[in-house]
């Protein structure tokens, strides 16, 4: 169920250039089930900045009533968020949207998880849940440069992990699709989150595979009421438009027009 709660900061630290790892504690964590869902965060009690910020759930720890998110402190809102200290409260609305379907990978199968930049975080909880179910995971994660790389160790503990940087300063050089062409991995289903060109290249690279993609769009309400976050669908889908916040952010391949 969607809840709004003032959650308490337990841990907060910078883990790469502009990338922060924030762990919050509260009842709302117990509502979180599906990887790829997101929360809508109000970073200040005033109306400056006004709107909430959508941030993906990176890992869930119901036992401790905690959840963790990773975000890039780039603009007004996320910079304010980056100043929160342990003990501070953060206004969180969530969990929102439909995440990655873990049930689409069978025990014993292999899942390919492809992330680009700040699209990497939601894949972490996904990988944890897939592994818990006995699905083998391969991770291919793309970043701009060595200073932007994060969570390599965490992903490595769950499965084969390949890092790609655009400038070649770490891992292999280029885009994730360049590396995938070389690796030519065997897998049953792919899951991905990252920039649109990456998602598009993936859809084209694996025309016959089952796949699930996570999308971003500017949001107003985050719950499906304002029609801000619509995306155009392909001819194959009867509806003209879908809402990223409440119908997504994750859609099966071929649904969103890329």
């Amino acid at each position: 169920m969607i809840k709004q709660e003032r959650m308490k900061v337990v841990r907060h630290k910078q883990i790469a250039d502009d990338i922060f790892e924030l762990t919050l504690i509260g009842q709302l964590s117990l509502e979180m089930k599906q990887p790829g869902q997101f929360v809508h965060i109000r970073v200040s009690d005033s109306f400056e900045p006004l709107l909430r910020r959508p941030i993906s759930i990176c890992s869930i720890d119901p036992e401790h009533m905690e959840f963790t998110m990773l975000y890039r402190a780039g603009g007004r809102g996320t910079k304010i968020l980056s100043l929160k200290q342990p003990g501070d409260e953060v206004d969180v609305l969530g969990p929102l949207g439909n995440g990655f379907p873990v049930e689409e990978a069978e025990t014993g199968e292999t899942a390919l998880l492809v992330g680009g930049g700040i699209g990497v975080p939601p894949l972490y909880e996904l990988s944890k849940q897939l592994n818990a179910k006995g699905v083998r995971t391969i991770h291919v994660l793309g970043f701009q440069s060595i200073n932007n790389v994060f969570y390599e160790k965490q992903f490595s503990e769950l499965g084969d992990t390949y890092i790609v940087t655009a400038d070649g300063s770490y891992g292999s050089k280029g885009f994730v699709t360049d590396l995938l062409a070389q690796l030519n991995p065997e897998f049953n289903v792919f899951y991905s989150c990252g920039p649109i060109p990456m998602l598009k290249a993936l859809e084209q690279a694996f025309p016959d595979k089952k796949g699930f993609l996570s999308f971003e769009e500017r949001m107003g309400c985050g719950i499906g009421a304002c029609y801000a976050c619509v995306c155009e669908t392909t001819d194959a889908v009867a509806k003209d438009y879908l809402k990223i916040c409440s119908d997504g952010p994750v859609f099966p391949r071929g649904v969103v027009a890329l």
Partner: protein, 303 residues
């Protein structure tokens, strides 16, 4: 006695708090969060004769204490609203104000005639002020004669009182208000969004795909208050005020300026529980002001 009750043409409101059109969908999403029967009324999303796809994205952009939107009146169309949305809302004890939009007079008339027959639709809100569509919207609301004629045409077919939603994007809002009053409007709702623009600092191009968008949120409140203050002295029909309301103090301001009820728009995005929270806070506000009932506050800026 209910200290918060307000009586308007067609509407007996248990409290004056109404979610604004376009900021509350058709209620389904917020119904998952709280009991919609708590609200004074609901202004549902603009409804047009045909399904509307709306504008390309990005459709929203944040501004200082406000936001721009150019949704472009996306909605599932009259037939769907009549068949699904309105019947679904009947489970709640809350009057519905249907926001009616169209491309030409005949569309408005057709939507108004049909939608005003729904049992829970207790009033219409004529949207002649949407700044985000190429035709059918703001051009009806910026010319006094056109606005008056459209009001009269809709009044002639509507089963319920007709409120006209005024645009702030005019030189003289009082003139338009008087024209729609003369056209037979039962009330006014004001204000719709102010046309604005935000540029991307790197590319220099507008952030919103549509170029311009409608500005709403706390940033517009002083403009809205001024307009309600002016117009309420020029017309006899009641005003439902809106523009930047986020808390009970804002509500008191609008009522003081001359509004009889208020609508809360953008604030629902900031805090989805803002409407019930304001409703709960209002009696305390009245106590603070040593006022018996909300109606005592109305128009006190003019006294």
């Amino acid at each position: 006695m209910n200290r918060l009750q307000v009586d308007l043409p067609g509407l007996t409101l248990k409290n004056p708090i109404i979610p604004a059109s376009g900021c509350f969908g058709f209620g389904q999403e917020y119904a998952k969060l709280y009991d919609l029967s708590k609200l004074g009324a609901i202004m549902i999303k603009a409804t047009t004769l045909e399904t509307r796809k709306g504008n390309p994205t990005p459709r929203v952009a944040e501004t200082s204490s406000g936001m721009l939107n150019a949704i472009g009146l996306q909605n599932p169309g009259l037939a769907h609203v009549m068949e699904y949305e309105l019947p679904w809302l009947e489970q709640y004890d809350v009057p519905i104000i249907a926001n009616v939009a169209g491309t030409e007079t005949a569309d408005y008339v057709a939507v108004a005639e049909k939608i005003s027959t729904a049992p829970n639709v207790k009033a219409l809100e004529l949207n002649i002020s949407c700044p985000n569509v190429k035709c059918g919207g703001i051009q009806f609301g910026t010319d006094a004669k056109t606005a008056s004629e459209l009001t009269a045409a809709v009044k002639a077919v509507s089963n319920v009182p007709v409120y006209v939603k005024l645009s702030p994007n005019v030189t003289n809002i009082g003139e338009i208000a008087k024209a729609v009053e003369a056209g037979g409007a039962d009330g006014l709702t004001m204000i719709n969004t102010l046309i604005g623009m935000r540029l991307n600092p790197i590319t220099g191009k507008p952030v919103i795909a549509n170029g311009t968008g409608g500005l709403s949120g706390p940033a517009v409140k002083p403009v809205a208050i001024r307009m309600v203050y002016d117009v309420s002295q020029q017309v006899k029909i009641p005003i439902i005020g809106m523009g930047g309301i986020t808390n009970a103090e804002d509500v008191i301001d609008f009522l003081s300026a001359g509004a009889s009820a208020v609508a809360v728009g953008t604030a629902n995005f900031v805090d989805p529980f803002v409407c019930p929270n304001i409703i709960d806070a209002l009696p305390h506000k009245l106590d603070e002001l040593a006022c018996e009932k909300l109606t005592d506050i109305m128009g006190r800026s003019h006294r």
